[in-house]
């Protein structure tokens, strides 16, 4: 660091190089540590499988024909070779619906997390960077959001706006904002006063540039971990809300909604409740394994 400050020929370039090198090595090191953690790799593999299934499902199944259309003559069939997971009360193949359900969960999960990440990130960055009154106002508002347990908050919003996929996404995005805002704010605050940022400021780099070049790369690590875990939380919340009838609405396949309608048939056709639940569990487990591994890889102290 000292070297950079005293290098008065081309300080910014040197800083860039240093940063780039640092970033690369950091990512490399993280990847290296992650690879060593076998369970996280397992989580990663499971997630990749689920994602590829979700993408490939469009080729395996015809959405209208296999996932939505009812076939009353084949309703409530136990698992068989034709229908490995059985059929539901409308004669639809449960396996096809579970695989298509992964599309629903993953796409809503990732989109909402990206939305809350961006909006939370911006709010947190502003808050942490400028501090003072702005910080105070933003964080007090965030406190209000955080004072309501997440699931309850999402339920409230969906209840008010009405049950639909879009409203569900709005609810989940909003409830994710404060957490990201807090993380980004605290990493911004730690980075803000670090020497190389002060140096950059000293040579007249503007705020936006400092944020993009220094603050963002440095808050990346905790944000990645939070993103992974947040996707897991969101998928669980989607399932929970759909189970209560406040989430994704029929006939679109979603695991929680499938469990909700399977519940009436639980007594005689318990397989209907088994498989969607397993699908949720495995997905969340994989995301958690990966998130844990990432956390360990990013913060070796916790090992």
């Amino acid at each position: 660091m000292d070297g950079i400050i005293h290098n008065n020929k081309k300080p910014t370039d040197a800083l860039k190089i240093k940063q780039k090198y640092k970033k690369q090595s950091q990512l490399k090191e993280i990847w290296f540590r992650l690879k060593k953690n076998k369970t996280s790799v397992l989580g990663l593999i499971i997630i990749l499988i689920i994602i590829s299934l979700a993408i490939a499902s469009g080729f395996i199944y015809d959405y209208d024909e296999d996932v939505i259309n009812q076939n009353i003559s084949e309703r409530l069939q136990s698992p068989s070779l034709d229908h490995p997971f059985g059929t539901d009360e409308l004669g639809r193949d449960i396996l096809a619906r579970i695989i298509y359900g992964s599309r629903t969960s993953l796409s809503i999960g990732f989109t909402t997390v990206v939305i809350s990440l961006i909006s939370g990130g911006i709010l947190g960055a502003i808050s942490g960077f400028y501090g003072g009154r702005i910080d105070n106002v933003i964080m007090r508002i965030m406190d209000i959001f955080l004072a309501i347990p997440g699931t309850l908050f999402a339920i409230t919003i969906v209840a008010a706006l009405g049950t639909s996929t879009i409203n569900l996404m709005i609810a989940l995005s909003i409830s994710g904002v404060p957490r990201f805002a807090r993380i980004v704010r605290s990493s911004v605050m730690t980075v803000k006063d670090v020497e190389f940022v002060e140096a950059a400021r000293a040579i007249g780099a503007n705020n936006l540039r400092i944020i993009i070049q220094h603050v963002i790369p440095n808050s990346l690590a905790p944000v990645i971990v939070q993103t992974t875990l947040q996707v897991a939380t969101i998928i669980l919340t989607i399932a929970g809300l759909s189970f209560l009838g406040l989430g994704v609405s029929a006939p679109q396949p979603e695991w929680g909604a499938m469990l909700s309608s399977a519940r009436a048939y639980m007594r005689e056709y318990s397989y209907m409740t088994l498989f969607p639940g397993l699908a949720i569990m495995i997905t969340i487990l994989a995301l958690n394994l990966l998130g844990d591994g990432l956390r360990d890889a990013l913060d070796p102290r916790l090992k």
Partner: protein, 530 residues
């Protein structure tokens, strides 16, 4: 941290465990239901107490009553419990005809216009309220007046125009001309009779439901149960309660109610989930009661929107729907297909000129219309799971005649607003009433557009028939008028009736004298243990 093999192994073991657990439960269930022997529930029954306790019946129901007061709500769940603590002047019998309850006898007198609008009624003598006071005409007048102050039950309190005391046991009720609905309205829970002294004292009938009914209120554990005990001084010795204690238990989930019945936790289930109907019918310890309800369910289209203003289009849609499939999927078979625009089983029903399921006929109507079916925009609103399943079948049916319908889901509150205001093309709905006149008034009278007339039908000929029927006291004459109205409706196919669902209750086979009538009524006070 982990060894890969181990973690994989663990995962497999856990998976296998879960699978075997559910697998076991599945196969065991199949065994018990096929062999018809003791079910796992009853064999392991540790809570056998209530089942042998001949002093108590535990009733399970899906919805908690919003209130124990008679007039402050219009909920079916509330109607059930009101029947325990209160009596009306009249009540509906098994065939859903009003018969005198607190009233001993009555006559109808003509007014100065020669219309039979003055009802002179005499009460039974010595009827005791739960608080020990004796029923008089004053209580009647106070109760009917109080009911009129509650907007929730406005529909049922308008037929009484004026009341007048003659002596302690005799009073007069004035109606607006002759009225065929008065006796039905007096049978409604909102017109239950309560002591004048308590009404005047602003008693909270929700906390302290004092009436003359067969059971006295004991205790309400919110969300859990309500307890009642027999009213020893019940006025009608023939219908005095035989079982001492009633526990009214709230079990919201259908499958849970079934399991609770099988395990002996409860003795009577009011709303039985149709998914478990077959296995319960095969169970010798359980009796199932099934009756087609008077609740008429349909696909409604907005008659003000093009092309549903066209009779041929409506007839095409009406004959394109496979009602048997709808019933299989939506109700698990627990219903009957409708054969008319009005509820079967009510006075004046007719199936004449009704469009039953017939795809060829539907296509014929479509051709007669001459338009392109693929241009028809139909968005079917479904406000619950059953309706959604029905909607999915209809969607497939309409595809056959070239109509691409869309399904949308809405919660009940939004659905009610949207449909009342006419901002829709189609929805699946229904209407429940105890008599044909109030059914027709609610669903088709043009003055109810923007309220319960959701097809937005405005047919002067029909209005005239309905109003005529409302004034016709003679049953046979009324039947003729109503039949004419039914046929007129069948010809016009303003909406597409689907089914009348079964009311299904089930109880421990030890319970005797049970019945349910087509409007879902049952009489706890008539039950006894074998």
């Amino acid at each position: 941290m982990f060894k890969t093999k181990r973690s994989l192994l663990i995962m497999l073991v856990i998976l296998a465990m879960v699978l075997s657990v559910v697998g076991c439960s599945n196969s065991n269930n199949a065994q018990s239901s096929s062999s018809g022997e003791t079910t796992p529930g009853t064999s392991d029954n540790h809570i056998a107490g209530p089942a042998i306790d001949k002093d108590t019946v535990v009733i399970a129901t899906a919805d908690e009553t919003p209130s124990l007061s008679a007039a402050g709500h219009n909920a079916v769940a509330g109607d059930y419990v009101n029947k325990l603590t209160y009596n009306g002047l009249f009540r509906l019998n098994k065939d859903i005809n009003p018969v005198p309850d607190l009233v001993k006898e009555y006559t109808v007198e003509e007014d100065e216009n020669g219309e039979k609008s003055i009802w002179v009624m005499t009460l039974h003598e010595g009827v005791k309220f739960h608080d020990g006071s004796t029923l008089t005409s004053d209580d009647i007048i106070a109760s009917l007046a109080d009911a009129k102050t509650h907007p929730e039950v406005l529909t049922y309190t308008t037929s009484v125009v004026k009341t007048e005391k003659v002596d302690d046991l005799t009073f007069k009720i004035y109606t607006d001309g002759a009225s065929s609905s008065l006796l039905y309205d007096l049978s409604h829970h909102s017109n239950s009779i309560r002591p004048k002294a308590l009404i005047d004292a602003d008693n909270d009938f929700n906390a302290n439901p004092i009436g003359t009914g067969p059971y006295k209120f004991v205790e309400w554990t919110r969300g859990e149960q309500i307890k009642f005990t027999a009213h020893e001084e019940y006025f009608d010795s023939d219908r005095a309660p035989k079982i001492k204690n009633i526990v009214w238990k709230i079990i919201p989930e259908g499958s849970s109610r079934t399991i609770a019945l099988e395990s002996g936790e409860v003795d009577y289930v009011i709303e039985l989930d149709s998914t478990s109907l077959d296995s319960l019918k095969a169970n010798p310890d359980i009796s199932v009661l099934e009756v087609p309800s008077l609740s008429h369910n349909w696909l409604t289209v907005n008659n003000e929107k093009v092309p549903f203003d066209n009779l041929n289009v409506r007839k095409a849609v009406c004959s394109a729907i496979n009602r048997e499939d709808v019933i299989t999927v939506a109700l698990n078979g627990a219903g009957v297909a409708t054969e008319g625009q009005t509820p079967e089983g009510m006075l004046g029903f007719s199936s004449e000129d009704f469009d039953n399921y017939d795809v060829e006929a539907a296509k014929g109507y479509m051709d007669a219309w001459g338009g392109d079916p693929s241009t028809i925009e139909l968005d079917i609103i479904c406000s619950n799971d059953t309706k959604r399943r029905a909607g999915e079948v209809i969607q497939a049916n309409l595809k056959e005649i070239g109509i691409n319908a869309n399904l949308s889901t809405m919660d009940l509150a939004t659905y009610l607003s949207v449909t009342a205001e006419g901002n829709f093309t189609g929805f699946i709905g229904g209407y429940t009433s105890s008599n044909m006149v109030s059914f027709l008034q609610g669903v088709f009278l043009s003055s109810n557009i923007n309220a319960s007339n959701k097809t937005r039908t405005a047919n002067p000929e029909l209005d005239a028939l309905i109003n005529k029927a409302a004034k016709t006291v003679d049953q046979e004459e009324r039947r003729k008028v109503l039949e004419e109205a039914s046929i007129l409706l069948n010809k016009n196919a303003y909406q597409m009736p689907l089914y009348q669902n079964y009311m299904i209750s089930a109880h421990s086979s030890g319970l005797d004298n049970t019945f349910i009538s087509a409007n879902g009524d049952f009489a706890v006070q008539e039950w006894s243990w074998k």
